[in-house]
Amino acid sequence: MPALPRTEVEEIALLARLHLDPDELSRMELELGAIIEYFAALAQVPTEGIPPMTHAVPMDLRLRADEPAPSLSPSDALAGAPGRDGDLFVVPAIIGGGEP
């Protein structure tokens, strides 16, 4: 079975924002390679002119009045946050190092 090249596995992991250790990267090369090879069978199915199905049931977007209504309180919404400052989530610096 064809393994997925290590550089490609690393590139996908970065896109997915997943830290993978060297063992995990090696396993992914083989496992993803095998699964993707299996997917490739789909290429043989003739689908020209077939619309892609995005929803299982016909759907019309339902609109509602644009009116304020009760929702989660800020304290409930922030209750699970690892870092908060008043009613704000605290995040690390976006660029460079150091504390926010």
């Binding site: 997943l18 699964i35 290429a43 077939i50 759907m59 995040v91």
Partner: protein, 484 residues
Amino acid sequence: MTVHWLSAAQTAAQIASGELTASAAVDAALDRVASFDETIGAFLAMDPTAREVANDVDRRRKAGEPLGPLAGVPIALKDNLVTRRVATTAASKMLAGWIPPYDATVVEKLRAADAVIIGKLNCDEFAMGSSTENSAIKRTANPWDTSRVPGGSSGGSAAAVAAGLCAGALGTDTGGSIRQPAAFCGVVGLKPTYGRVSRWGVIAFASSLDQVGPLSRTVEDAALALEVIAGVDPKDETSIDAPVPRYRDALTGDVKDLRVGIPHEYFDGAIDADIRGALERAKALLVERGAQLVDISLPHTRHALPAYYIVAPAEASSNLARYDGIRFGTAATDAKTLQDRYMKSRAGFGPEVKRRIMLGTYALRSGYYDAYYKKAQQVRTLIKRDFDQAWHHVDVVLTPTTPTAAFGFGAKASPLEMYQADVFTLACNLAGLPGISVPCGLTGEALPIGAQLIGKPLDEATLLRAAHVIESVLGITKRPKAVA
């Protein structure tokens, strides 16, 4: 019958008549959990308010106040359904310690029906798996043979119901995750039509496929539960605005002139001989009761598995982007930059979840989208069209739920081998159709067998009617030996 083996409908009826109290029903369930859950491993958390809620039901009954259709019935929930003030983990380390600030719509509906929620049930992490072995928290055993898996991903739900630890449970089904464990554990599992039940408060896996449904010991209970949880929800744009019938009225025992499709694609391949035999008995029974068997073809069936394993991971990779270590869930607070926070926090996902995020990211990335995701969505249209054609000739489709009975722990050596366990259940989700697994006897090794019925959109009533007939003759009357 001992209280813990009563069906949900029987429990509700006995409580309503005063023959049984809600407190006694809930105590019986909690006693069972205390006695047997060390062996089974179904529960991840107990709801500390259960006894209080039961007492309140008893008090209101005495006061002559009106009660809901599930008043006092002990129910448990798959742990990917969020519960206000009760820890919800989806069996992942990523959500360890998270206490949701709200209830899922289905949970609100159960509470409104006066059900007593006793606890949260194990599953594969984020509902990704077919054996519950992917739970990051614990192992759940099959009550029929504790060396075997209960199926998955709603394995805790199926095992708890089969072991008499609760009167019924909710699960979720993205590719078979209600029906396959129901088959493995000898209980009824119903996946409603996509949109029939609100997904608000369901921890999202693959949003175009996920659906909530009941696991129960009887078809009547499945009908009752669906009456309670179905309906449009302003919080779920994909929920269907259609009346909710009294599904129990469909259980007439009459299948005369029902046209039952037998798709050869589901019977041609490798199926365990005992399962094949059980399905033959189901067919013969339906014919004896006046139904017509119609040979049909669903020619794109074999493409369902690869299409599913592109669509589901693609949607999962997007849905699971929310676990970023910022707003809730596990966070690597020692990270110095935002990107570092994301990468390190997300290391808390288990191997199968990482694999699916990687697969989904692979399939969706720029330049690959048409070859994978779009192609899979086109194949999905073809699979749905197969069924649309079939509905001109038949009312329901009958298949085995699984090609084998429950397998042993560690029996599936590779991810692809595990994915094959869903081979008969995936098409139903891809096409958005309702499906049910109903017990249909035991194998020579005394393991449960499930028969699957697939129906037209929103025609759960016909599924339940046919399943009820199969249950009445071929249903399992023995109790699982590990919990007898």
